[in-house]
Amino acid sequence: MTVLVDSGTKVVVQGITGHQGTVHTVNMKAFGTAVVAGVTPGKGGSQVEGVPVFDSVDDAVRRTGANASCIFVPAPFAKDALLEAVDAGIRLAVVVTEHIPFHDMLVMYHYARSRGARIIGPNCPGIGAPGKSKVGIIPNVVFRPGRVGVISRSGTLTYEIVNGIKERGLGQSTCLGLGGDPVVGTSFVDALPLFEADPETDLVVLVGEIGGTAEEDAAEYIQRHVSKPVVAYVAGRSAPPGKRMGHAGAIIARGKGTAESKLTALRNAGAQVADFPYEIPDLVAARLGASASR
């Protein structure tokens, strides 16, 4: 096990017969992920890209031994899908779906937590460990096996940064996209200990954005508990207060959530802060030193 996923991860795709579900089932398989089952109520018995489809997660788990779920179910039904997965014994669920009301997510989060299950997302690209497994939608082309861990609240920006790390001749241990919603199942503070404990990670890249206090919380955690070097970037320095900047969670509300506050906290915690995303690969290379750069 690296961070949360490895070659023992067996994925059930909920909403596999939808466009997104099908496309990313193909991509996950191409990455090397063991996609063992799909679920779409009413379509049990069929197949998608060679993957057997079941009517319920319970059926899928009993018949295939699936131990992780990737959820593409539309927002109005996503809560039900997640609770069904948890009740079927799934302990890791990546929720790709966007626009889930946070009131639903509060129920999903506390329900999962009380049963020992972890949610990544919602509105997230998921998780990938090159050479091992990927659950979610991070594009396969950006990965290269290596020793840099990446934790991010963004999607495309993460791909760009991960790709930059690859082009710099470095690679990634695990990339984790937390999602851009106000309530996420796994936060920076939840993820950092996993990377700190992971023997395959030498350095952590943290990609934040405006809104909430997740980065400030992360800075406090880093100061106390993280010995590995951290390189951080926060998007949205030019964002005005009160505007929701594309992500539901990216909003400066009542003076809280500014990039400046986050950058200061991270800097004070000893993280190396990049002003722009394209500076990250060089900062990472410098921190890892020449020996690790090949």
Binding site: F102, H103, L106, H110, G155, V183, G246, P277, Y278
Partner: protein, 384 residues
């Protein structure tokens, strides 16, 4: 997010049994006079502008009246106001009450703790940000257990209420928690919550409904008080579109990448005007819609920043070239494209062949779009 005007918030409160003053919302001085004359609003009364910005009391947007004629006069004065950039279209007339004390309560979301958070203070009627932390009680509500009796006892103690007032407060808190959940609110705030006689009453109401829960609340579809007209069109077409106050348009895929693009532009002296997030789409129709919408915002120049991950850059480029043809001649704008990722070389080739300056370096592109925008600003005739 859907911010509700005070009177809409109070209508919701009333429907859940939360006490609010007797009153009426009107749109003309004549209707204000009638409301006061008919007794539907007892005199003396308060006349309040129905705007979303705070600080109305100090800003002349709240007046008092003791006769129907005075109510009409106050309404007329307030309806003529433009309050913090917002034209006043509605005023709320309400009975003036004998207030013993002003308190504060709200329920919002604590993102870090991932729980609904009830806040209460004995210092009501002022901006809550100015209240010292020691005077602010925070109670985390368990989403499954709900608001518990002992938690309400803590609130009552912090607010210094007892006896029949406490009983009234207990009922109000229960109902406020139900409103927060049932209406899918991001925020329900009563400031001030007044002690009047033996009970509490909501003198103000701030209710914000979550956008993502709109599918459960068709009744709010018509409430679009705080969006610009273009933001409204974008919402209908399901495009993430935000209007800022600069003049350079930005189109990117993904919210994080879009924000990073704005930051780089700002760094090089550009002023981002409109921000448009294509998200994960490579649907040519959506790309075309996005470009047409951008054209309507009349940007000085547009910066397109695409990272091709799952989608291929050449596919996106082909969509863009088609989209550009649809933009009317008069609405064309200088376009700088920065294309990275999957099949980037082919994507750049396609764009260049169509006359679009396309490159891979973010800094160079940012500088060139800032220059293009500046060039157009010195020649405003070019935009007419």
């Amino acid at each position: 997010m859907v911010k509700l005007a005070e009177w809409r918030g109070k209508e919701i409160f009333r429907s859940y049994g939360i006490p609010v003053p007797r009153g009426a919302v009107v749109r003309s001085p004549e209707d204000a006079r009638k409301a006061a004359e008919s007794g539907s609003v007892p005199l003396p009364c308060v006349v309040k502008a129905q705007v979303l910005a705070g600080g109305r009391g100090k800003g002349g947007a709240v007046r008092f009246a003791d006769s129907p004629a005075a109510a009409a006069e106050a309404a007329q004065a307030i309806l003529a106001l433009e309050f913090k950039g917002e034209k006043v279209r509605e005023v709320l007339l309400e009975e003036k009450l004998a207030i013993a004390k002003e308190l504060y309560v709200s329920i919002s979301l604590d993102r870090s703790r991932r729980v609904p958070l009830l806040m209460a203070s004995a210092q009501g009627g002022v901006e809550i940000e100015t209240v010292d932390d020691s005077a602010l009680l925070r109670v985390e509500i368990d989403p499954f257990a709900g608001l518990l009796a002992y938690e309400k006892r803590r609130v009552a103690a912090a607010l210094g209420v007892s006896g029949p007032v406490r009983a009234s407060l207990d009922r109000l808190l229960d109902q406020l928690w139900i409103v927060f959940q049932k209406e899918d609110a991001e925020l329900v705030e009563i400031n001030p919550l007044a002690i009047v006689g033996d009970g509490v009453i909501a003198l103000d109401a701030k209710v914000i409904i979550e956008d993502d829960a709109a599918f459960r609340h068709p009744e709010f579809n018509e409430v679009r008080d705080d969006r610009t007209p273009l933001e409204e069109i974008a919402r209908e077409q399901e495009i993430a579109f935000v209007q800022l106050d600069g003049d350079i348009g930005v189109i990117a895929n993904g919210a994080g990448l879009t924000m990073a693009t704005l930051d780089v532009l700002t760094q090089y002296g550009g002023r981002p005007g409109v921000f448009l997030d294509l998200g994960g789409t490579d649907d040519p129709k959506k790309v075309t819609q996005a470009f047409l919408l951008m054209a309507k915002a009349r940007p000085s120049a547009v910066f397109l920043n695409i990272f091709g991950g799952v989608t291929r850059c050449d596919t996106v480029a082909l969509g863009l070239v088609d989209a550009l043809k649809e933009v009317p001649e008069a609405e064309r704008f200088p376009l700088v494209a920065r294309i990275r990722g999957n099949n980037e070389a082919r994507g750049i080739e396609i764009l260049r062949a169509a006359g679009v300056g396309a490159r891979t370096d973010l800094k160079e592109c940012a500088q060139s779009v800032v220059a293009a925008a500046a060039g157009r600003r010195v020649a405003p005739g070019a935009r007419a």
